[in-house]
Symmetry: C2
Subunit: 250 residues, 2 copies
Amino acid sequence: MEEEKRTIRAVERALDVMLCFTTGSDWGLTEIAQRVGLHKSTVHRMLATLEQKGFVFRDEATEKYRLGLRILELSAHARASDPAVVLLGEMERLRDQLGETVSLYVRDRNDRVRIQAVQSEQAVRRVAPVGARLPLTVGASSKVLLAFGDAGERDALLAEVSWPAPKDRDAYLEQLQEIAALGYATSFEEREAGAAAISAPIFDRSGKLYAALSVSGPSNRLTADIMRERAPAVMEAARRMGMLLGGTGV
Amino acid sequence: MEEEKRTIRAVERALDVMLCFTTGSDWGLTEIAQRVGLHKSTVHRMLATLEQKGFVFRDEATEKYRLGLRILELSAHARASDPAVVLLGEMERLRDQLGETVSLYVRDRNDRVRIQAVQSEQAVRRVAPVGARLPLTVGASSKVLLAFGDAGERDALLAEVSWPAPKDRDAYLEQLQEIAALGYATSFEEREAGAAAISAPIFDRSGKLYAALSVSGPSNRLTADIMRERAPAVMEAARRMGMLLGGTGV
DNA sequence: TACCGATGTTTCACAGAGTGAAACCAAGGA
DNA sequence: TCCTTGGTTTCACTCTGTGAAACATCGGTA
C-alpha cells in the first residue's frame, strides 16, 4: 500500500493475462479470469484489445485463446538485437566438438532464461527450447550465474528463495566458492532426472558477467569423470565468446 | 467516433508502444512518445509497467529501451503450441532434397508472417528469420495465400491495398487464377532483387488453407526452368504436410 | 421439451484511475 | 556559464476502466 506505484494498472493486468500463456497454451476466458483474479468482463475487454492488435487469437476449433503471431514477430526483433546471435557460431563449434546440446543462459530477475541454444544431433539428446525460464538456484548454469555474479544480488536472492533452505545456505555458498575457484560448475541429475551439465561463465571485454554457457546431455553420457575431462573445452569456448562481445552492457 | 469500442485504451496504447520495436530495436522514451503520438509522461509510465513485467528493459550502455526476455519466453510457448513444429521434419527433408531455404507463411490480417523456416546450408543462401512480417500481395507465397484463400477476403484486400494499382488488378487476378489452376506459384526478383521462390498451398484435412510452403533462393540458382522442374516436389511436400495437420482449425 | 450449468457477451452507474500540462532534474556541448 | 536534449515527478481534472448484474448461447440431462 505504501508502495509508490508509477505504473498503469490496466496495462499491468493485461500483461498478466498474457503471462498466463507461459503455462499452458490454450486458455478460456473464465480460466484466465480466475487465474489473474479479475472479473470476467474485465478480462473480456482485455482479450479483445490483445486480439485486435494480434497478440492473441481465438482458436477456431477449441474456442480458446492462444498467443498470436505478433509475439513471434516481436521475438524475431528481440533476438535480432541480441548479442547472442554473434555467439551462435562458437556454440555450433562446441556442439560439434562435444556432440551435446549447447545453451546460453542469462539471469533475469530471480530466474535464468535460455536465450540461445543449438541442439545435439544425437538420437538421445536434451531438448532445449529458447526462451525457457528456469529457477536460478538449481542446475550448473544457475550456480555459475550466482558464483560469478554480483555478491549483493546473490545474497538478496538466497534470502528470499525457498531452496536451498536456510540451514543449507552455508553449504551452498561454499559450493559456489569452489565453483568460483575452479572456473566452472557441473550438475548431475540436479534439476532434472537423467540429465547432467557442465557450465562456464562468459564475461564481456569489460569483465562483466554476461551469461552462462552450458553443455548438457543425458547423465549416462556425461558422467563426473567425463565432465571433468571436458570442462576445459567449455571454459575455453566461453573465453573466446567473451572476446566476441563488446564492453559494458552491449 | 461512431465506432463501437469495447477495448481498453491504456492497453491498446501500451501495445502500440511495444510494436515500435518491430522497426528498430533501440528506442528512447521521447522517440517512442513521438512515434505513437502520446505525451512523454504517459509513455514513461507505460515503459515502467512493461519493464516491471520484463517485456522491455533499459540497455545500460545506450540508455535506450529494448525488448525484454519475456517476449522470448512467450514466443517459445507461442511456437510450442503451433502445428508448425509438426511440419519441421518435412521441411527439413525438402530442404535437404532441394538444398534451398524452406519457409512457411500464414496469412495474418493484411500481411503474411513467416511462422517457421529451415535454412539452406549452402554458403550463398537466403536468410529467413521466423516471425518476419511481409506484404500480402507480392512474392510467391503471397500469391498462393490469395489464390487459394477465401475469395471475399481477397477482394476486400485488393480493394484497400495500394499495390497492385486499380488498373492492374484484373491482370493480377488473372495471374491468381492461373496459379490456382497450376497448383503452385513462382516469383522471380519480385519482392527482393536477386531472390526467387516457388510456393505451394498446404490444406489441412478438412480442406481449409492453412499456410503457404515456400522454397526460396538466389535467382541465379532458381531460374524459371529450374523452378518449373522442381514445383512438383514442392507440391508433393505440401500435400504430405497437409496430411499431418488435423481437421478444421487445429 | 424443459431445465440446467457453464461458458462468453453486453449494459450501466460510479469512483478512482489514467491523462497531459507543466515544473523539475541531470548531463553534455557550446 | 548558459543552453539544449533527454528523462522524471507532481498535480488537478475528467474521462476511462471497472465489476455487478443481466443477457445470450450453447450442450448435456432428465
